[in-house]
């Protein structure tokens, strides 16, 4: 069982990323596409945190345990993930604002119809 465990988190991250990309590519509604982009972003968080994990370790936060008393996981990847989640949310808001502008100017949020309008 544990040989599968060695690679399972990375495979789940790859699967979620590819699913998000599939949704992004075949979306017929721009708001749905932004949701799929959020799924792609969460795949990168899963990969980052899986890389930093250590068996039997705990979080490197020493407010309630003695430093050095227990093995800890890698804090650097957690710092990356933490800031990226919040910044990702504001970038999603910016994308949704763009979708609103498209809906206002072209009256549709379907990417295929947008292509015909320009032709």
């Amino acid at each position: 069982m544990n040989t599968a465990m060695h690679v399972l988190p990375y495979l789940v991250a790859v699967y979620v990323f590819l699913t998000g990309c599939y949704g992004l590519a075949t979306s017929r509604n721009l708001i749905h596409a932004v949701g799929c982009l959020a799924v792609c972003q969460s795949a990168t968080y899963v990969l980052l945190l899986a890389v930093g994990y250590r068996d039997g370790a705990t979080a490197p936060v020493f407010s309630d345990i003695e430093p050095g008393s227990r093995p800890v996981v890698d804090p650097v990847v957690q710092a990356l993930t933490l800031t990226d989640i919040v910044v990702g949310a504001t970038v999603t808001a910016l994308l949704l604002a763009l979708v609103l502008q498209i809906a206002k100017r072209h009256g549709t949020v379907d990417p295929d119809e947008l292509r015909e309008l320009r032709g």
């Binding site: 705990t58 979080a59 936060v61 407010s63 309630d64 345990i65």
Partner: protein, 150 residues
């Protein structure tokens, strides 16, 4: 073999799978109820994990879940009020079952943890979780009349 983590795994697997199945199929009303039940499935699991890993600091996660879970459901109840108006979705059986589960978990942890500041925090989280769950169900069952502008 840590019993707390095992309990969290079982609660998570069962509750999570049920919530996921509920939120992907069925009528809009049932989906929002499933989303509401995600909170009351995940929050006790977080409390059990905090006890299982021996890290009182993880309780802040459960506190935040108990606070923001019902807020998420209120967002959906408010902005989907037009779709839910005809349906009046209410699953009071499930709500009380989830509230009972949360109460059981909190009491078990209080007993294990012993008196002190941690127990007060646990009780606050339990109260927020059960209150939020019941109020969110109340909101879904017709909290917002026809909301056009507001």
């Amino acid at each position: 073999m840590n019993g707390w983590i095992l309990a969290a795994t079982v609660g998570l697997g069962g509750g999570g799978a049920a919530a996921l199945w509920g939120v992907t199929t069925g009528s809009p009303g049932r989906r929002v109820i499933a989303q509401n039940l995600t909170t009351s499935a995940v929050c006790p699991a977080l409390l059990l994990l905090s006890q299982g890993y021996g890290r009182p600091a993880y309780v802040d996660l459960a506190l935040l879940m108990a606070l923001l879970g019902p807020v998420g459901t209120l967002v959906f109840a408010r902005l989907l009020a037009d779709d839910l108006a005809d349906e009046r979705p209410s699953a009071w059986g499930l709500t009380w079952a989830a509230a009972g589960l949360a109460a059981a978990v909190v009491i078990a942890l209080c007993v294990a943890g012993g008196p002190g500041r941690a127990m007060v925090k646990l009780l606050v989280i339990g109260a927020l979780l059960i209150g939020g769950n019941v109020i969110a169900s109340r909101a879904l069952a017709g909290g917002f009349r026809e909301v056009r502008g507001g």
